[in-house]
Symmetry: C2
Subunit: 237 residues, 2 copies
């Protein structure tokens, strides 16, 4: 599906100039690496609590790319400062492409403010946008022929590049879920790459929350295990 290749954003000033396209935060200020790999998802939304990241009346961190703010405010029609899953789908369409509502729900779940499961605010949105920017840059790096799709080995390398060294045998189980039974080789577009990657990222971070010593082992109570895993199952409506 060539149409599902990442679309050009409306105002990509920084796109050609830096490796991490669409990052709203200047490199070195609050690094993406720090933001995404070493903190569990629930704390991603907490940057705003550290006063220095707050700025202006918009509720966005200072130096947030104006396009990010504009995307958010365009869909937040009642200016409540929060957007729901359908609004998030619209907002991201301005900078990326239209994501499947399944991917959107996964993004909402991973980036949500712990106090509000159904909506996200400016800080969560900015963090999500930055993360997608990093992932898009990685996707494009591995999509060498610019077809808008990557194969299994490229997916593996891309996730490795993002800090996720998932065993190939495990990744293959996830990757094979995108097999449409047509006998064609599976390739993932950006939407599926994000979905696939966010599953790996989210589950890995949930595991790490219980593996504080980085031993590669984690112990769960039954209730913890069930409530950790079930949110990753998709919605069935």
């Amino acid at each position: 599906m060539a149409s599902s290749a990442p679309s050009a954003p409306p105002a990509p000033e920084s796109y050609a100039q830096q490796d991490h396209a669409f990052t709203a935060t200047p490199p070195g200020d609050y690094t993406l690496h720090h933001q995404h790999h070493h903190q569990p998802p629930s704390s991603m939304a907490e940057h705003g609590k550290e006063g220095k990241f707050f700025g202006g009346s918009s509720g966005f961190p200072p130096e947030t790319n104006p396009n990010v703010i504009r995307s958010f405010q365009t869909v937040d029609r009642d200016s409540s400062g929060y957007i729901d899953e359908n609004e998030l789908q619209q907002a991201l369409s301005s900078g990326y492409q239209r994501f499947n509502i399944r991917t959107i729900r996964l993004l909402m779940f991973l980036f949500k403010n712990p106090r509000d499961a159904l909506r996200i605010g400016p800080n969560e949105f900015a963090a999500l946008w930055n993360c997608l920017g990093e992932w898009r840059a990685t996707f494009e790096k591995y999509d060498k022929d610019r077809s808008g799709k990557i194969d299994f080995f490229e997916l593996r390398d891309a996730l490795y590049g993002l800090g996720y060294a998932i065993p190939p045998s495990v990744l293959l189980v996830l990757y094979s879920k995108y097999d449409d039974g047509s006998g064609r080789n599976i390739e993932l577009n950006f939407d599926s790459f994000i979905e696939c990657g966010m599953i790996v990222k989210g589950l890995t971070e949930k595991f790490k929350e219980k593996d504080l010593r980085y031993s590669g082992m984690a112990t769960f109570k039954y209730d913890e295990f069930m409530s950790m895993v079930i949110p990753f199952l998709v919605s069935y409506d």
Copy 2:
């Protein structure tokens, strides 16, 4: 959706006579309780290895209800002794209702023979049929107005009756995935009940495989954790 209520099977001789409708095995011979609650899913398919459960040339356990054998053989057109997910969907339609392919894949995953991930044989099919029979009897017991649907509390009680004491807060996360956003109260038809219940059953059994002392705690390696959870995510084609 009244149309999604469990449909009458073609040959329900035993249906009105016993509590466990559609069980192919007589009560007391090889109890359903033993079969489903104390053994991990991978061993469910192993009964046939114990010689006394094998019988006849059909590959089915002795005393298997002829309707079960007929359902299997009708869809196994090449008489290979194995059926795939589409054939399973057809076979179950004769005795139950048409299940969503998502539910079918979950059933395939939970009842599959460890040596063949994509097909199931007579023993797996008989075990699956028996399990569905027990679950259908439970569903009907809690569907007091015979509407073909059950609500959250009935689901909780039904799962408890089947041996799964899942915390209500965790079950609510799973149950809320069936919310279609219409504002109507959620109710589950038999297909969704099976999907929901099989997720609980499957994850619980995976957990128990690592909690041999029944302590309520289990320790996983990262790879184990990831490869255990990912199969429960649905297929994305």
